[in-house]
Point group: C2
Chain length 119, copies 2
């Protein structure tokens, strides 16, 4: 394989982020890269919800909802509050909403431009 400018590549290596941040970023974005989880976070951005109401809202089974919430919790995107047998889920912090809204801004602006898609 041929390369135009190996010295530029060498210089870049020193600037790029390391494996740990890459992996953390990937995990976070991957969590947001699923329609169900996007809808979960959108719903929770309006306030906490118990698992059963969230399941009703999204038209999901209780099990599927719980599995997704578990994943989001492991990534610290949501946190829980127990109230008797119910468990209420909420966004972990304002950072998540910011990230979410920034993504929305991108897709809205992107949709405004003429677009080509994959086959």
């Amino acid at each position: 394989m041929f390369h135009i400018d190996p010295s530029k590549v060498a210089r870049l290596r020193a600037v790029l982020i390391g494996q740990a941040p890459v992996d953390a970023l990937t995990e976070t974005f991957r969590a947001l890269g699923d329609p169900t989880r996007v809808r979960v976070l959108d719903a929770l951005s309006h306030g906490e919800l118990c698992v059963c109401d969230l399941a009703l809202l999204l038209g999901l089974s209780q099990s599927a909802t719980s599995h997704q919430l578990r994943l989001l919790r492991a990534l610290r995107l949501v946190r829980t509050r127990r109230a008797g047998r119910m468990v209420y889920y909420a966004l972990d912090d304002r950072h998540i909403v910011t990230l979410f809204r920034q993504g929305l801004r991108h897709v809205e602006e992107s949709a405004a431009r003429p677009g080509r898609r994959l086959a």
Copy 2:
């Protein structure tokens, strides 16, 4: 399945974002949810690169690099500039960098807190 507050759920339905924004958001975040693509965008945030140098930088085959760039281009995250036989890729707009950096801020702050993980 039982539900605590169906009326709250009904009220929420009117506020949630629709399917088109959900899908667009999902697509965008999913594109960022892969370590290879995270590294591609990180690299391109420092300036445009041709496919071969990008492949060298990331230790990927030319084909794998091209496939990923194609995906990123379809999502309007990167754009191309042809110069002879070479094709240079660059981030499509500043929005992408913002989204990327906001994600970084989250994972850095999140890493600072004590964390629990999945099994």
